[in-house]
Amino acid sequence: MAQEGTLSIKGIFEEAGNQVLFMFRFFRNIFRFNFEWNELIRQCYMIGYKSFPLVAITGFIVGFVMTLQAEPTMKEFGAESYIPRMVAVSLIREICPVIIALICAGKMASGIGAELGSMKVTEQVEAMEVSGANPIQYLVVTRILACIFMVPLLTILAEGLGMAGSYSAVNISGHVSPTLFFNKAFSSVAFGDLLPSFIKTVFFGYAIGFVGCYKGYNSDRGTESVGVAANSAVVNASLWIIVIDGIAVQITNALGY
């Protein structure tokens, strides 16, 4: 029993060490000669643009449902006019960044994990390595950077569509002019709401890309390991998103935002 405990602690340290080494390889290869711009753009398209419909629908429905759920209670307190403000602040500060990051973890991290895992299984990564090319630069750096760029952009998009969803929900029971609704919504949103939220999503993007690449690149042989890599990429990325969110809230509170 004691030995099992020792082995698992050793395994945890080994895994942590491997992740740190992988992270160093990523940062070192960002600044290497002959950066893969074309592949970065392709990955931004594959990872970001192709997630657009999913993120757009999610953002719209989150705003829509949140408004419908809040409306009766707000009416009870005679505070209907606060709905746009409440929805705007909630979506921008917390709900959209976390929900969109979790959705991206499901779509991007699993996709990256499965893609790199299958490349590993079919010896494509080794083929790249023995040809003298740099697989970390070509496969890993481009995917992590694409996630870092695209997750914040998708979150901003979801926030905008979330507000549109909220406006649609408000108009189910009566007419509210768009000017009034959006003026009220954005009058309560300050720079201190936008910046921490944006910075948080950059870290979410990094976590999604890094975990996906790490799990895929280090997957074992055999087709089963592709599924394992994709699955553990989603689980680990989701966990990291929650942890980063917890830390970010503490930091923003401490800084008074």
């Binding site: 893609e115 490349m119 079919t122 494509q124 080794e126 083929a127 023995v130 040809s131 003298g132 070509y138």
Partner: protein, 255 residues
């Protein structure tokens, strides 16, 4: 370290291009290689025969630094692979071609992009006309000019191996390592691949190690044959010598 330096200072014209001494490699408690000693001479086709799991692929992965040995030395062009820096290893790998069992084509790219990949990323070529010329030439050499815009999923097993070989040869390596090049192919395609390997030697003067358990392939390409069993080399000689060996195990390969 430049390629010229390695060639001029370390390798004589007649010396072996690969020297392996007392190579041993284990995975956990599984001792895959015990004591491998092997030389590959210039412009020689060396066939390594052996049953699956005897460490043939592990040996050639140690040669290109994909795996690091536990004991022994692997020298390529006189340089010990295990102690090379990352940049020196990369420079060395450009001079070594490696054909994987599956062909290992990048399946998100077309055949053209697969062939352009090493030219753009390893040789850093930018001139589109030069890249196009080299891609067309090598595809014609592989006998598949019509496959240029196809994706790997549209190719048969034999075509994948041919394209994989073309992608490797486009960098004009001096050494080729073939990992079971005819496995999973029908006898006719196997023969075509074996003849292609032979033509690579004649046309490009490469030295090759061919890992296989296909006797028909060995007969066509071999200048010399090694037989491996349980992580050791148990027999060495020409194809004809080993074909008439009195050793029961060696003989069983040729039946």
């Amino acid at each position: 370290m430049s390629q010229e330096k390695i060639t001029d200072e370390k390798v004589s014209e007649s010396g072996p291009v690969i020297e392996i001494r007392s190579l041993a490699k284990s995975f956990g408690s599984n001792e895959v290689l015990k004591n491998i000693n092997l030389d590959l001479n210039k412009e020689e086709n060396l066939v390594v025969l052996g049953k699956s799991g005897t460490g043939k692929s592990v040996t050639i992965k140690c040669i290109v630094g994909l795996l690091t040995q536990d004991k022994g030395t692997v020298k390529v062009f006189g340089e010990e692979v295990a102690v090379l820096s990352e940049d020196d290893l990369k420079a060395l790998r450009v001079r070594i071609g490696f054909l994987f069992q599956s062909g290992a084509l990048y399946d998100s790219m077309t055949v053209r992009e697969n062939l352009e990949f090493p030219l753009r990323r390893v040789l850093m070529l930018k001139d589109k006309a030069e890249i196009d010329t080299r891609v067309t030439e090598i595809l014609e050499g592989a006998g598949l000019p019509e496959a240029i815009d196809k994706t790997p999923s549209e190719l048969s097993g034999g075509m994948r191996k041919r394209i994989g070989l073309a992608r490797t040869m486009i960098l004009k390596p001096e050494i080729m390592l073939y990992d079971e090049p005819t496995t999973g192919l029908d006898p006719i395609t196997s023969k075509e691949i074996s003849e292609l390997i032979q033509s690579m030697k004649k046309n490009y003067h490469v030295s090759s190690i061919i890992i296989t358990h296909d006797i028909a392939c060995a007969k066509i390409v071999a200048d010399r044959v090694l037989v491996m069993a349980k992580g050791e080399i148990v027999a060495e000689g020409s194809y004809d010598e080993l074909e008439h060996s009195k050793d029961e195990f060696v003989n069983s390969f040729f039946k």
